[in-house]
């Protein structure tokens, strides 16, 4: 009779950060697409309508939430007592494991790579990429916000980020890149959710629920 052993995989901080980011990104994609190609509200008086204004408000609000979640998450990576995943983010440097992982994903081999780190080797590479994607979105987002609001924190941040805007060739290019990166996020979400489900089915460890409860389960003999 096989026994099931519970293993605490994700700390509460990591789980909260995950859902914080997930929710912000969903809101940001939806509102972002409205801002990029809005539909016209024909009915009613101009004074009663504020659709674009509200969309931009929520876009900026969740953008700022994402910014702070990103900062907290990166702090945890570097200095977290239980949640530090700095070592795990470099799981891809283990080339042998990486090859095993790719073979396993491609259904060539049934030998799963060793479960040495919090992330698989391929996973760690993608998550590092995601980290830079969020950083890029946050920076371009703050530039675009700073160009609108000439007061307070946004003004200070904009003054710091202005050279990046010039380097990118003006606000129009910043805006365009911001739009392109949205699609990278959408592709990431699709693949990420599929991989979580796939893992859950293939390994039967409860991968999907682990990001809610924090636990994965292991069969022991």
């Amino acid at each position: 009779m096989a026994q099931i052993e519970k293993k605490h995989e994700w700390t509460i901080a990591i789980r909260l950060a995950h859902w914080g980011r997930a929710f912000s990104i969903f809101v940001l994609i939806a509102t972002g697409f409205y801002i990029a190609s809005p539909f016209t509200v024909f009915s009613g008086e101009t004074t009663d309508k504020f659709l674009m204004g509200n969309m931009r408000f929520y876009h900026i609000l969740f953008g700022v939430i994402l910014t702070f979640v990103f900062i907290i998450r990166r702090y945890l990576t570097l200095f977290g007592r239980k949640s530090s995943d700095l070592r795990d983010l470099f799981a891809w440097t283990d080339i042998k494991n990486m090859i095993k992982q790719i073979k396993f994903y491609a259904l060539i081999s049934t030998k799963a790579p060793e479960d040495k780190y919090l992330y698989g080797p391929f996973q760690s590479l993608v998550y590092t990429g995601l980290m830079f994607m969020v950083l890029f979105m946050v920076v371009t987002g703050l530039i675009l916000t700073g160009a609108c609001y000439h007061n307070g924190l946004t003004e200070i941040v904009y003054a710091i980020l202005k050279p990046i805007e010039n380097l990118m060739g003006g606000l129009a290019n910043v805006r365009f890149m911001h739009h392109i990166f949205t699609w990278l996020f959408i592709l990431f979400i699709v693949v990420h959710v599929y991989m979580a489900f796939w893992y859950d089915i293939i390994f039967g460890k409860g991968t999907v629920s682990s990001i809610i409860s924090g636990n994965i389960f292991k069969e022991t003999h």
Partner: protein, 393 residues
């Protein structure tokens, strides 16, 4: 706001403005003593142009506000305007269309900005001077000799830097634009770039840029004040010259060399159609009902949100209108590289084509999403069919 009710803050600001006033007075005295006497009496010129004293006072108030100075500077602006014709100016034309000169000089009924520009002491202006050939060269050399370190060099047009600048040669001696600009700017008190060509290269520098054209400050590596725009507003140029006369230096500029008082905020921030943007009311096609109602031109490709300029405040043609008011979106002409970055002109930036074949980002994104979904479906089916399971440890 909060700061305005704080007496200490207001005291500090008041003291700063008083210091600025002292500085301004001292500098105007210096201008009046050192520069050659005014060639024309401004009051006479204005009378000839059909401008009353009252109009002039109104104008000086407007200019003071445009320069973002408090009302106490109004007399100083008027005094600087009187000294306007003392300022020696050398005006170079490089790779450009002369549209900026045209915009500044031609109006059906001149306003004070235009009249002031007419009174400017132009020592050398390739389009307007009577001299030609070697005589013109002599004029330029004389101006540089007589007003060494005192004249303002105004440059219109980009510098082609390819082939050592040989894409552009001017004058009887066949000097390249690069040589000429280097020589003149090295002797000028200040260099003002008028128009987007001299500021950032404009259409000459648009891709693929065969002549390797550049803006003045890029090509020569000197600091310039960039009055960007295609063409720029006369008030922005006049204001910069007034600032030079009043304070003996060029105005504070942003990171791209544009005066902050004129280019500090975006078109979008002061657009009269902005409430329609926030309300979600957009023109969907030219001449539709929303267009008649004056709704926002964002979906018709207005680039106001990416463009720093004061067009929406100062307006063109004596304040009659400006592009967005006339019903067409802003094309972003005050921004560097706007021919490339702001395209397509009449579509939002998100509908810019990338790679080839009229592909937009969204079309590519949907295609990539479809490919990903197909890949996932194949992988999922293959995993199920194969019964993919990891080996037991």
């Amino acid at each position: 706001m909060g700061r305005k009710t704080n007496p200490e803050y207001m005291n500090t600001v008041g003291r700063q403005y008083n210091q600025l006033m002292e500085h301004c007075k001292a500098n105007l005295d210096k201008v009046e003593n050192e520069l050659p006497p005014a060639r024309e009496e401004l009051s006479e010129t204005l009378k000839d142009g059909g401008v009353s004293r009252r109009d002039f006072i109104k104008w000086s108030s407007i200019m003071t506000a445009t320069l973002m100075l408090p009302p106490m500077f109004k007399p100083m602006v008027a005094r600087a305007a009187e000294s306007f014709s003392r300022l020696p100016v050398v005006w170079l034309h490089l790779a450009e269309c002369t549209g900026c000169s045209e915009a500044l000089l031609r109006t059906s009924y001149p306003n004070i900005d235009d009249i002031l520009l007419d009174t400017i002491s132009l020592e050398y202006h390739e389009t307007l001077m009577a001299a030609a050939g070697h005589q013109a060269e002599q004029n330029l050399e004389k101006a540089m000799h007589d007003f060494d370190g005192k004249f303002i060099c105004v440059i219109e047009g980009a510098i082609p830097t390819g082939l050592d600048g040989k894409y552009l040669t001017l004058g009887a001696n066949g000097k390249t634009g690069l040589e000429l600009a280097k020589e003149v700017t090295s002797k000028a008190a200040a260099t003002i770039c008028i128009g987007s060509c001299s500021s950032f290269g404009n259409v000459q520098a648009a891709k693929p840029n065969p002549t390797d054209a550049k803006g003045i400050s890029d090509a020569l590596g000197i600091p310039t004040v960039n009055i960007a725009g295609c063409p720029p507003h006369p008030a922005n140029f006049v204001g910069t010259l007034l600032h030079f006369l009043m304070f003996g230096g060029l105005p504070p500029v942003d990171s791209l060399g544009r005066p902050l008082w004129a280019y500090g905020k975006r078109i979008h921030d002061f657009c009269e159609r902005r409430p329609h943007y926030d309300a979600g009311e957009f023109v969907e096609e030219w001449g539709d009902e929303p267009a008649k109602n004056g709704w926002c031109l964002y979906k018709m490709g207005c680039k106001g949100p990416y463009t720093f300029a004061n067009c929406s405040k100062v307006r063109f043609n004596d304040g009659i209108s400006w592009p967005v008011m006339a019903g067409h979106g802003c094309m972003g002409c005050t921004e560097p590289g706007f021919w490339d970055t702001m395209a397509p002109l009449e579509k939002p930036i998100s509908e810019k084509t990338i790679l080839a074949n009229e592909r937009t980002v969204d079309k590519l994104g949907v295609a990539a999403l479809g490919a990903t979904a197909a890949g996932i479906a194949i992988h999922a089916v293959a995993s199920a069919v194969k019964g993919h399971k990891p080996d037991k440890e």
